[in-house]
């Protein structure tokens, strides 16, 4: 098992390397002269040339890529902000905990509410509970999360005045951002849980459990859920990625000093390296979360464990309907 985990962690390296490469080359195709961006319109051509020399922008792209990689791997150096001239790695590290906290809170909320709703809907299929919760989930997956955030502010801050519209200085400040961020994942998790439970429901082993004289509640919780959980886990992983991306707007709306707001600010001021580095950082976090999800499969399903032991991991086909 441990050997498998190590192996999987090592397998992540080429993926992260690939992400770094993709993100770097996206940066490289960016039109315009970074030096002009940094120095502003009033700079002279000589000044720009000097800065280009200094930043190594004159070198061939592959050489730049090499030194970028070298700095990244050896020093954890993500480059320098065009605008503030500050090391990006440090800026990101300061902001990341807030972003991570918001993502985790939203995911917890989404799972704690979404999974039970999905189970209930599947068990009471076509009942009013099912119809109501699936309609809400449909709205949940369709609603633009940033608009939902604006609506929440409009209702709970502007009209009723219960909760702060911006900032997370008080715990109450977290409430609206967490709700706004979790709505899509909550809806998607509820939908996936429902369809996964429905699929498991008709399995032969469920009939076997009933033939033993097992109580309905135990049939559901012991026999069905353990089998239905893999697609749910899969969708939780996917939703975590979506949450990280979706937070970009939510954070800027609620003025939460996290990576998302950092990115939006950087987009507004054309501070490319900051954007690229944030994307890189969040992608790595997402990869780690995906890895954890993969390992969780093994915790619930002995067949996956067996593949782990034999050292031949096979991608589990998720029935998640995204």
């Amino acid at each position: 098992m441990l050997r498998y985990i190590i192996k999987r962690v090592l397998m992540m390296i080429p993926v992260i390397f690939g992400v770094v490469t993709i993100v770097f080359f996206i940066t490289a195709i960016t039109p315009g002269d970074p030096a002009a961006q940094i120095l502003g319109p009033s700079s002279t051509e000589a000044q720009r040339a000097e800065l280009r020399e200094e930043l190594g922008l004159n070198r061939p792209i592959l050489v730049q890529y090499g030194s970028y990689l070298k700095n990244l791997v050896l020093k954890g150096d993500l480059g320098t902000s065009y605008i503030r001239k500050a090391p990006i790695a440090k800026e990101i590290a300061e902001r990341f905990p807030t972003t991570f906290k918001l993502a985790c809170y939203s995911m917890i909320l989404a799972i704690v509410i979404g999974v039970p709703i999905g189970i209930l809907s599947a068990l009471r299929r076509y009942s009013w509970i099912d119809i109501a919760s699936m309609s809400f989930s449909l709205v949940g997956v369709s609603i633009p999360n940033f608009w939902f955030a604006l609506l929440l502010i409009l209702v709970f801050s502007v009209k009723i005045g219960w909760l702060p519209a911006i900032g997370i200085s008080s715990p109450a400040g977290w409430i609206l951002p967490v709700i706004a961020t979790s709505v899509a994942s909550l809806a998607q998790i509820a939908r996936t849980t429902r369809s996964s439970v429905l699929e498991t429901m008709n399995m032969d082993y469920i009939r076997t459990a009933r033939a033993k004289g097992q109580k309905e509640s135990v049939v559901v919780f012991k026999h069905m859920l353990k089998n239905a959980v893999i697609p749910i886990l899969t969708v939780c992983g996917l939703m975590f990625g979506m949450t990280l991306g979706g937070q970009v707007l939510i954070e800027s709306i609620f003025a939460i000093p996290g990576l998302g707001k950092y990115m939006v600010d950087a987009i507004m001021s054309n501070d490319y390296p900051c954007v690229q580095s944030s994307v890189l950082y969040l992608s790595v976090v997402f990869s780690v979360v995906s890895l954890i999800i993969d390992l969780l499969y093994a915790a619930v399903d002995p067949r996956v464990r067996a593949q782990f032991k034999s050292g031949k991991p096979k991608k589990i086909k998720a029935t998640a309907k995204a």
Binding site: T208, A211, P302
Partner: protein
């Protein structure tokens, strides 16, 4: 001997979207204590539906019991509450399902799955249940150290042994085995059948052996009931039915099988197809395939007639003398 199970005039339909499947039509059956009944018929003859009706496991959404009663030890099963049925299932009546590949829960160890049924019906501790489960594994020929293994680590035959262990764990009064060997390789079939035979002989239980394999019936059963299109067309002791078949369908069925004793005969397939179960005729369902069919066969549905003591057949051919009574 007293009757353990009585089925009286059971009719079960499946209400599908654009059709109604008449799966079981007015069947009556008695099974005595310690008796093994072979329930024979083609796919779709209503064997499994009958079994599920006894278990109380018919799909609620689709299946409808139109009429009939089922008694176990004189108690009506169809009148029992869901809770009361849970107490009976697995304890008094248990069932072996056809496909061992999917009948076991993939995420629980086989031991847990056997211990589960013990824990449900017998007041005992976890440890005792586990001990019983290990005992059961040995009984069905699996070394008890495999208790902690998962279904995917077992072959098909081994899985079916586990399923048998689950079914036998609480020493049921009635065991329903729904084609227990059909999904297995031929060589494994013999082993599993041997195991079942041994257990049936050892225990004082009644068995309904659902199968389309007459060889299995000859080997294991005391009585035999032949089903066709949801009806029992012939019923009697195994010797009566297999050696002196009286219903045209049974005769056809026997002729369509290769003989094992080396007698070389030309096989005679049964021509035509089973009547559409969503549109059964109001007369004899076998009429359209029957070589011995007569004019009156389309006039009404014959009843089971006792052709010899304890040997019943559902055909107008036997109506000669008793006809006047009708």
């Amino acid at each position: 001997m007293e009757n353990l199970l009585q089925i009286k005039n059971l009719t079960v339909h499946y209400n599908m979207e654009t059709s109604v499947v008449e799966a079981v039509n007015d069947i009556s059956l008695d099974i005595k204590r310690g008796e093994t009944l072979g329930l024979v018929g083609e796919t779709g003859a209503g064997k499994t539906t009958t079994a599920l009706a006894i278990m109380g496991l018919l799909q609620k959404a689709r299946a409808e019991i139109i009429s009939g009663e089922i008694f176990l030890n004189g108690e009506s099963l169809l009148d029992k509450s869901a809770k009361a049925m849970q107490k009976i299932r697995g304890d008094k009546v248990s069932m072996i399902f056809q496909d061992p590949m999917t009948a076991l829960n993939p995420v629980l160890t086989v031991g847990e799955q056997i211990a589960e049924v013990v824990r449900l019906h017998e007041k005992c501790s976890r440890a005792e249940a586990a001990a019983r489960a290990k005992e059961m594994l040995e009984t069905v020929g699996i070394p008890s150290y495999r208790y902690k293994e998962y279904p995917h680590q077992f072959s098909g035959g081994m899985k079916q042994r586990v399923v048998i262990a689950i079914a036998l764990a609480c020493s049921p009064d009635l065991l329903i085995a729904d084609e227990p060997t059909t999904a297995l390789d031929v060589t494994i079939q013999a082993q599993v059948l041997e195991l079942m035979k041994e257990q049936i002989q050892k225990r004082d239980m009644s068995v309904i052996m659902i199968t389309h394999d007459l060889g299995v019936v000859a080997e294991i059963c005391d009585k035999c009931a032949v089903m066709y299109a949801g009806e029992i067309v012939e019923y009697g002791t195994v010797e009566d039915v297999l050696d002196y078949p009286t219903h045209p369908y049974t005769r056809n069925l026997l002729n369509s099988l290769p003989s094992i004793d080396g007698e070389i005969k030309k096989l005679q397939p049964i021509e035509g197809a089973v009547s559409d179960p969503t549109n059964l005729p109001p007369y004899c369902s076998f009429q359209n395939r029957c070589k011995e069919c007569m004019e009156r066969c389309t006039e009404g549905n014959p009843k089971l007639v006792e052709v010899a003591p304890g040997h019943w057949s559902k055909c107008f051919q036997h109506y000669k003398e008793s006809e006047a009574e009708k």
